[in-house]
Symmetry: C2
Subunit: 236 residues, 2 copies
């Protein structure tokens, strides 16, 4: 609905000059096309204003959500394996976690998603870890720079693996074939996803972290408990 | 960002009652989970408020765009084959127009997209036709009812075909194989798309009409002129 396009007037000029000196019919068409173009400019301006107002609202609410997310993060830190459990219960995320990564992700104590000041320009996902046998970093950050200009790109913290523990090497490439894990989302592992910055625009996994897990991790943390509670007990 | 989920407190109660009488650790986890749930309710409330404010802005600008679209439609009526040309120049729409349909769509004198009062609830696309040898109707309307409850559905005007001119019968099923038409979007023809109300939620063609062609038809009407104007002249 808010698609911008300010280039029709440029095209217009070319068309008009190309049909200069044409018949009366051409002139009539030209006049009508110019009128359509004026309407288009009015629509584009309204779209731009609408986008700006919507952006302001999103920014306002982002600011209001931020302290709540912060406090949430501090409470979550006290719940052993909260993020690991939520990830492993998530229908799309669990499938990217390799067996050896499961061990590692139990050291995850905080996830934070931070949108940049101008929320259109991008966001970053932070993974905070307790001291662990796999790498030296306390935080692994994956940043997505999406707009306004230049080709979109993403960057991720260089992981300082401890000896022989580089989980992006020797990943178990067969794990997708066994077990009940349905969707593999391009069969990456968590850390292969983390270090891969080839296609930031269609990074499904990043979007699941940002728009789904981060927005409501509790529902994923809780899900299996619920199902157990509700499950019919057949073994009596 | 605005995903709603008000059901975690319900899940919560079940979890809490299921760990009643547990150890001190259980009690601590329960307290923390309850705190996370309170944050989640606060976030859900902010999301709901943000959605409402954004909806109001969209409705406000829809109202402002409406009279411009109306006036645009009246001017476009004076430009012979405007909509037909725009459709045939559109990279995704041209591919659904069957050869016999091309003849018919030249009688199209107006397209209108109207969002329903509550824009979340759906929209309709109207195709207005001059008198023509194919059908009796002056207007063909395809309506999409998307929210808030019940399964989404679409409906389209019953087309009163004139004898032997039903374009949904005898469509040339081979046309996709010839010519330079790249994307077939499920190989429908225009009228097969129009009468098909099986999957209103992922109706790509409807969305192209609504979010792309309708928003700026002039760019498609003009495109080939431009390319001719700019094309290098190699045959001298
Ligand atoms: Ca941070
Ligand atoms: Ca109408
Ligand atoms: Mg947190
Ligand atoms: Mg119109």
């Amino acid at each position: 609905m808010l698609k911008m396009s300010h280039d029709s007037s440029k095209k217009m000029k070319k068309v008009c000059s190309s049909i200069e000196g044409g018949s009366d019919l051409d002139v009539a068409i030209q006049k009508n096309l110019e009128a359509v173009d004026v309407f288009q400019i009015e629509i584009d301006n309204l779209n731009m204003k609408a986008s700006e107002e919507i952006l302001k609202i999103e920014q306002k609410y982002n600011q209001q959500r931020k302290p709540i997310f912060k406090k949430r993060g501090e409470v979550i830190k006290n719940i052993q394996n909260f993020w690991f459990t939520a990830i492993m219960n998530h229908p799309d995320l669990s499938s990217i976690v390799d067996e050896r990564e499961e061990e590692c992700l139990q050291f995850l104590n905080k996830i934070e998603v931070e949108e940049f000041e101008d929320i259109r320009s991008g966001y970053q996902i932070e993974f905070h870890f307790d001291e662990n046998p796999f790498f030296e970093n306390a935080v692994l950050i994956k940043e997505f720079h999406l707009e306004p200009v230049g080709s979109p790109n993403s960057q991720s913290t260089q992981i300082k693996w401890k000896d022989n523990n580089d989980l992006t090497k020797n990943t178990d490439n067969n794990f997708g074939k066994s077990g009940g894990r349905k969707r593999r989302l391009e069969s990456k592992s968590f850390f292969l996803w983390f270090i891969d910055n080839v296609d930031p625009v269609s990074d499904d996994i990043a979007e699941i972290f940002k728009d789904d897990l981060w927005q409501n991790p509790l529902q994923y943390y809780l899900v299996p408990d619920i199902e157990e509670t509700n499950a019919p007990e057949n073994d009596e």
